[in-house]
Amino acid sequence: MFFRFGSALILVVVTSLLGIAVEKQNLTLRREISRQHYRMDVLQEEHARLRLRSQQLAAVERLFDTIEDEESGLVPSQPGTNSFLPASATPSHDESSNEESALGDTQVDEAGQGREPAVKSGVRKPDSSDLTTRRVPLLFWQKPVGDPRMKRGSK
């Protein structure tokens, strides 16, 4: 009888302990979910701030002046540099009509750049000291030092 009673008691205690363990596990998981939602909120905020910063840094207005500046070399400074047009398709400055000259028009080229008379008279030669106009290869490949394959190749 004592065995049966003891067994029943142990069963009740074990069941209770199991219940408590399950409940604790449940609470832990729910807390973890709460924490993950919180982390998600924080990450969303971080994402919003970083996106804002990146867009501020890459704002069109910031870049526009640089792009617009002919000195940067990013704007074609000669007629005929429109990729759609052959060089012969763009009228030379000498071809501009007398009527326009009489009106004192500012010539507008295909890139939409207003052209001053001083610029009209000649083609702007790139300055070798001007890094922005220098042609720079997009990819560099440097010979690895001590690479046996290169030694073989050099023979």
Binding site: S34, A48, L52, Q56, E61, L103, D105, V108, E110, G114
Partner: protein, 590 residues
Amino acid sequence: MTSSPTATTRRGRVRFISTVMIGLWAVVIGRLFIVQWKQADELASYASRQQLTEVTVSARPTDIVDRSGRLLATTIVSQSLFVDPQRLDVDDEFIADLAEALSIDADRLKKRIVDHANKRFLWVKRRVNDDEAAAVQLLDWPDSAYGFRDEFLRKYPQGHVASHVLGYRDIDGAGQGGVEQSLNHLIEGIPGKRKLVRDALGRIVEVSFDPDSEPKRFDAVQLTLDLTIQMFAEKALDRIMEEWKPTGACAIVMEPGSGDVLAMVSRPTYSLSDMSHVPSNAWRNQAISIIYEPGSTLKPFIVAEALQAGLIKRDEMFDCENGEYKMGPRVLHDHHRYGKLSVTDVLVKSSNIGMAKIGERLKNRGLYSATLKFGFGRPTGIDLPGELSGILRPLKQWNGYSTGSIPMGHELAVTPLQLITAQAALANGGRLITPRILKGVQGERSDSARAFQISLEDPSLAEPATIVRPTVSAEVARWVIEEPMTQVVSRGTGRRAKIPGYTVFGKTGTAQKMDPETGGYSKTLHSSSFICGAPARNPRVIVLVVVDEPQSGSTHYGGTIAAPAAAKILSRSLMYLRVRPDQETRTAAR
């Protein structure tokens, strides 16, 4: 001598103990039944009241992006500082430190705290920046006397670009002006609810998330604007403001086939990153909120209507009376003395007398029908607040003067958007399309977004409406664009809008404004405009520039003031959109 209990006694004891045990278990089971079954709901709600708190969570206002996905407006979380005045000692030194940390006036701050001394909550400064928040936390605060509350802060990374189109959100997060106001139903989202579970000491131990009660929002509201083209227009108008010193100016770039507004600029303007110093005349979006007499820019529509009605022929000649024509009691004049002009030349030379004679053919009813057909006199229906309908008087108020005035763009007033929308109708083959600023919304892919859409009162609100109405036949529209309007640029008043490689069409407009003193037309106040587009055979982009009251310089003609800027915007836009030049073969063959 003790005797061992008999079997009967033992059985009796066992029965007694069993009965007691069963009785105890019965009490426990009975109590469990009452707690878990009978009083379950009552006790559960009682526990909930003690443990659970429901808080409303605002939806983060949706981002606004341009047609390429570049960010125009976004939202970050910012902290707002509040104090509990009852727990705050109004110490002069502390108040001075707090005011310095927040860059606000110490005397005003002290007065506010003193005035609200009996309150338990007072905003000190809303949406403080990170440096200010850090400085506040370094102060020697009394216990529990202050706190920060998270609030959304709207940010516009592009500065003053497209400020009139975007509008802004005020301190309470409500949209004011621009799409922030007109598309607020798409931007603000739907607030959600979250349940907080507290322990016996009131500490939050769990935040319970229910996907159905989370805040709902779209990922982004996409506009038809293109930021690069917008910048072309912004820069062009800046130069006009610098060179001609007008009281205002505006530019609109539109895709005629779809009615998409690619750029909309208004001057004077303001920066969305600093709203504290905005000139009073900068709030108005001149593209939709000013009205002006369109002048000669209206002439192509009248010619198109007369051709459509069969009242004139394309090769017909009109006698322009050597520059002076008596029309009833009124004498009309041209800038130059013209003899006989073809319909094309009437537009190319912008002859008022030629147009008046076309007006006589149409009569007032026909002229009224033409203006109505091209959408004048009523708002275009774009998703922007504050759009004016222009002025188009009822037909019964028209008289003999109207027959001469309307064809030359007087006696009615239009908004720049109305004019470019009507021009788009000619450019796209005769279909008048509602201009669009909303391209669509992003975010339907997720379940929550679907639920959001369903929960919207009217899901169709998310869809930009496009209303198409016929105006004139495609043949007439094409002829007006490809012949007279193209020749306006090649040999007429719009020569400054020539773009090498492209066949540009356009029309200049110079209208006298009303003199506020005399009530008649002023000789010094003008509204100069130019509308153009290219390529003429298949127009991809049309541009309108309107300059209001240019002050400096001796000229006021649209062909001189507005045409170069419009051409610059157009040429850059065509190049940016990679529109192939249509004069390549012809020019190369020369």
